[in-house]
Symmetry: C2
Subunit: 502 residues, 2 copies
C-alpha cells in the first residue's frame, strides 16, 4: 500500500475515534445540564463502555503499525504541515494511552461518574466526608496512572503531561517560584492603599437580564451561535462535539453580578478557540486546542484582559446601566471599572481577582503534589486546605463548600489540571503584549465595540493551528519566547498602579 493510502486509512480510524470522544463529551455535558438524578448509574455504565471501546480502538496494533509505517514518509514532509503534525500528535497520544490498561479506563469512567454526583451533593450540603471515599478512589486511580509511566522525574509529571504536553513539574515550579514573591509583594502594596468600593456587585440583579447581557456582549464580540449554545450548570464549562457544535455553560446568581458576567466571557473565550480550529481539523486529533493552558489563555483574555478593561466597559457600560438602572444608574464608569477590578482575598477561585487568582492555583497544585507524594491524606485535605489558604490569602474559608469542595475538577478525576489556569494567565498576558504591538489602536477599536482585528489575530496566530504544536512551541512561534511570567507581572502592575494610585 502507498503511504498516501496508509495515511488515509489512519485518518479514517482517527475520525471514528474523534466521533467517540465527541460522544463522550456529550454524555458529560448532559450529565451536568439535564440528566435526572437517577440517571447517574446508567451514565456511569455508558461512559465506561464507550471509553473502553474508544481506548481499545485507539491503542490498536493497526494504528501502531500505521504510525510506524508512515514515519519515513512523514520525515520528508514539512514538519509544520497538517499531515506531519497529525502523525506527530497521534503518536504522542498513542504512546501515552498504550501504557494505560483498559481496566483502568473503565474504572476511571465509573468512579468519576459516581463521584460527580457525590461531589455535587457534598458541596450543596457542606459535607466533605460524603465526598471523601470517592476522592480517595480518584487519588488511587491517579497513583496507578502515574505508575504506568514509571520511571518518571516526578510522580506528578505523567498527570501534568495530559494537560500540558512537553511540560514538567520542575518547569511549572520554576515559573511559579519566580511569580509567587512578585505577586505577594504586589498584593502587599495594594493592601496598603485605600480600598475600592464594589458593593454594587452584590445587589439584586434579575437573572434573565444578566443572562441577556452576557449573550449580547459575546455576540457583539463575534460569538457564533449557529455552532453553539449556552446552558446553566453548577460549574461553568466549555465542551465540544466537533467543529459544528461547541457549547458553553454558565451560572447566574441573583445577588452577584460577576459570576454570569465574567463567566460567560470566560467560556466564550474557550469556545471561540475551539470554533476557530481549521474546519479540516474536524474529526482529527488536531481539532481543539494545544493544551489546557493555551485554552485558558484564551478564556482569561476574554474574561480579564478584554472583559475587565476600561475600553471594553467604555463600550458596554451604557447598555449594562440600561438593563440595571436602579443598581448601576448612579455608579459612574470609573467606579464600576475600579469595582470589578477590586483586589480582595476571597474564597472562591473562579470569582478571584487577577492579583490573587494565581495564589488559589498554587495552593491547589501544592496540595495535589502532596497527595501524589503521599505526604497528605485525603481525610486531612480540608484542614490542609484551610491552613494553606490562611497562609497565602490571610483568610480561612467558613466551610468546606466555600473551600476544598468548591471545584468540580477532582470529582472528574482531573488531577494535574489546575496549573493550566495559572499558565493561562501568564500566556494570555504574553499574547496580549504581542497583540497590542501588532494592532496599535486595539484599545480604541474595543472602545468602539469593534473586535474584528483582535479576533482575526487570534484566529490566525492561535485558533487556526488547533492542536498542531506543543504549548511551548506555539508560544515561541507567536511571541518569540517561551512561557514567561514577566508580561503578566507588567500587566498586573500597570493595571493596579493605576487603579490603586501607587
Amino acid at each position: 500500500m502507498e503511504p498516501e493510502q496508509k495515511l488515509q486509512q489512519l485518518k479514517n480510524l482517527l475520525a471514528e475515534i474523534a466521533d467517540l470522544n465527541q460522544i463522550t463529551a456529550l454524555l458529560g455535558w448532559d450529565q451536568q445540564t439535564y440528566m435526572p438524578p437517577a440517571g447517574a448509574e446508567n451514565r456511569g455504565y455508558q461512559l465506561a463502555t464507550l471509553q473502553q471501546i474508544t481506548h481499545t480502538k485507539f491503542v490498536s496494533d493497526e494504528i501502531g503499525k500505521l504510525l510506524d509505517d508512515l514515519q519515513p514518509y512523514i520525515n520528508q514532509l514539512d514538519p509544520d504541515s497538517f499531515d506531519a503534525c497529525l502523525v506527530r500528535v497521534t503518536r504522542r497520544e498513542y504512546e501515552r494511552e498504550i501504557k494505560v490498561p483498559i481496566e483502568w479506563v473503565a474504572e476511571f469512567a465509573m468512579v468519576t461518574t459516581v463521584a460527580y454526583d457525590a461531589w455535587a451533593k457534598a458541596r450543596a450540603e457542606n459535607d466533605f466526608p460524603h465526598f471523601q471515599s470517592h476522592l480517595e478512589k480518584i487519588l488511587d486511580l491517579a497513583h496507578r496512572y502515574a505508575g504506568y509511566f514509571a520511571p518518571y522525574e516526578h510522580v506528578y509529571d505523567p498527570l501534568l503531561e495530559i494537560f500540558e504536553p512537553g511540560m514538567k513539574t520542575t518547569d511549572i515550579k520554576a515559573i511559579f517560584n519566580t511569580l509567587r514573591p512578585q505577586q505577594v509583594e504586589l498584593l502587599k502594596q495594594i493592601a496598603s492603599r485605600p480600598q475600592v468600593d464594589n458593593s454594587f456587585m452584590t445587589l439584586q440583579y434579575d437573572e434573565d437580564k444578566q443572562w441577556q447581557f452576557g449573550v449580547e456582549a459575546i455576540t457583539k464580540m463575534g460569538y457564533e451561535w449557529e455552532r453553539s449554545r449556552q446552558d446553566k450548570t453548577l460549574h461553568p464549562f466549555t465542551t465540544s462535539f466537533g467543529w459544528g457544535d461547541v457549547r458553553i455553560t454558565t451560572r447566574v446568581y441573583p445577588n452577584y453580578l460577576a459570576s454570569a458576567l465574567f463567566g460567560t466571557l470566560h467560556e466564550a473565550g474557550h469556545a471561540m478557540y475551539a470554533m476557530g480550529s481549521d474546519k479540516s481539523f474536524d474529526r482529527t486529533p488536531l481539532f481543539g486546542g494545544a493544551s489546557s493552558g493555551i485554552h485558558e489563555s484564551q478564556s482569561r483574555m476574554w474574561e480579564n484582559l478584554v472583559g475587565r478593561s476600561l475600553p471594553f466597559w467604555q463600550h458596554f457600560y451604557p447598555r449594562l446601566q440600561e438593563l440595571f438602572p436602579t443598581q448601576l444608574g448612579n455608579v459612574p464608569l470609573q467606579a464600576f471599572y475600579r469595582g470589578i477590578n477590586k483586589v480582595q482575598p476571597s474564597y472562591i477561585r473562579v470569582e478571584a481577582d487577577e492579583a490573587t487568582y494565581n495564589l488559589h492555583i498554587m495552593l491547589r497544585m501544592e496540595l495535589e503534589i502532596a497527595l501524589m507524594e503521599n505526604h497528605l491524606q485525603v481525610k486531612d485535605l480540608p484542614e490542609a486546605w484551610n491552613a494553606r489558604f490562611q497562609e497565602y490569602l490571610g483568610i480561612a474559608p467558613p466551610d468546606d463548600s466555600k473551600g476544598v469542595l468548591q471545584d468540580v475538577h477532582w470529582s472528574g478525576g482531573l488531577i494535574g489540571y489546575f496549573p493550566s489556569y495559572a499558565l493561562g494567565n501568564l500566556i494570555g498576558a504574553q499574547l496580549w503584549e504581542r497583540i497590542n504591538a501588532d494592532i496599535p489602536d486595539l484599545s480604541e477599536q474595543i472602545r468602539q465595540g469593534d473586535f474584528t482585528d483582535w479576533l482575526s489575530w487570534l484566529r490566525q496566530k492561535i485558533h487556526s493551528h488547533g492542536n498542531k504544536f506543543e504549548p511551548q512551541q506555539l508560544i515561541q512561534r507567536v511571541t518569540g519566547s517561551k512561557i514567561d511570567p514577566a508580561p503578566y507581572m507588567r500587566y498586573l502592575e500597570g493595571k493596579y498602579r493605576a487603579i490603586y494610585n501607587f
Copy 2:
C-alpha cells in the same frame, strides 16, 4: 465452560450493547432538544460511527455461538423465565440484524440525521421539494432493507417486524379491514348529530401554566421525576437511556390547549411503561416494551381512556379552571368534557380525536405500502396524500406542512411504524375492558384522583414484563384473546353515543 458462565458472558456482551443503544438514544434526544443547527453534520458522523460499532458487536460470531451453545440449556428452563426470554428475544433480534450489512447501518444513520434537519426546515417553510430527495434516499434504504429479508410474504413485512414482532402485513390489513367500515359508519352517525362547541380550546393560554398543569397532572398520576424530565421539541416523544433515565418531550402552543395537555399525558404513558420494567431488565434486550403497539396502548390509555374521560376531569377540572379562570371559568365541566372529545376531521394526526385518528393511520400505512410496492413515487406523495385525505376525512390539507410533512417519522427512517399507533388504540381499549373488570370501582378512584390501583395493575400485568413476550402473546396472556378491534369499537360507540346522544 458451564452454561451458567456462558449465560453470564452473553449478559455482559448484551449489557455493553444496551449501553451503546442508550447512548444512541441520547444523541437523538439532544439532536431534537438542544443541538445547535450546525451540529447536524458532526451528529451524523457520531451516530454512524456508534451504530456501526453497536451493530458489529451485536452480530458478532461470539454472540452467535453463545446463543447456539446455550439453546439446550435454555430449552430446559421455564419458557417464561428471565433467562429463557432473554435468549429467545436476543436470538430473534440477532437473526434479524445479522442479515443487515454494516454499510447499510452507517448509511442509514448518516441519511436520517441529515434528513431530520431537512424535514424540520421543509415543514417550517412548507417546502416539500426540500425534503423530497432525503425521503427518496430513505425509501431506497427501506427497499434495500426489505431485500435482505427476501423471500417475504409482503415487502412491507420486514419493516413491520421491527416494530411489531410476529405480526404480518396481512394480519394488520385484516384488523384494519374489520375496523374501517365500523369507524366510517360511526363517523357518519356522529356527523349527523348537532355538533359540540370546543371554541374554548383555541383561546390564548399562558404557556408556562399549560406546562405546569401537565406536570401537576402526571405527578399526581404517579409519574417518577427522579428518573425523568420533560423538555420542549418540535415533535413530542419519549426516549430512554436506561432504567434510571427515561425522558419525555412536549410542545406547547399559546393558542391551542390540547397539544401540551394531552401530549404530556401521552408521553407520560410511554415513559411509565419504560420505567415500569423490572430493574433487573436494565442493560438487557428485555428492558423497555414488547412492541411499539403495546407502547402506544399505554400512551393512548393515559391520553384518552383516562385523560379524556369524565372521571379524570371531575378530579382535575377545578385545578385547570383555577389556572385559566378567564378562559374556562364559564365553561361547565360537561361542556369541557364534550369539547375535548369533539369529533371533527382535521389535518394533524397527533391532534385528531379518537373517532378519526385511525383513519390518519390507515392513510399513512397505505401510502407507505404503495411506496414500498413501487406503485407510488416520492415526488407524487403530496398529491396522493391530499387525495386520500379528502377521500377518508372529507377535507384536504391547506398545505404540505399540515399534510404530508407533519410527522417526523419518515425523516428518521421509520417506515412501518405508523400501524403501531392504530394497534395501540385497539390494545388500549382491550386492556381497559380487562382493567375495569378487575377493578370495578376504578372510575370512582380516578374521580378521587387516586391512580394507585390502576398503575399497580399496569405495572404487574404489562410494564414489569418489559420485552419478554411478543405483542400477541402478551395480550393473549392478559386478556385471554389476541388483538381484537371489538373492544375499541365498543368503547368508541359507548363514549360518543353518550356525548352525541344517539
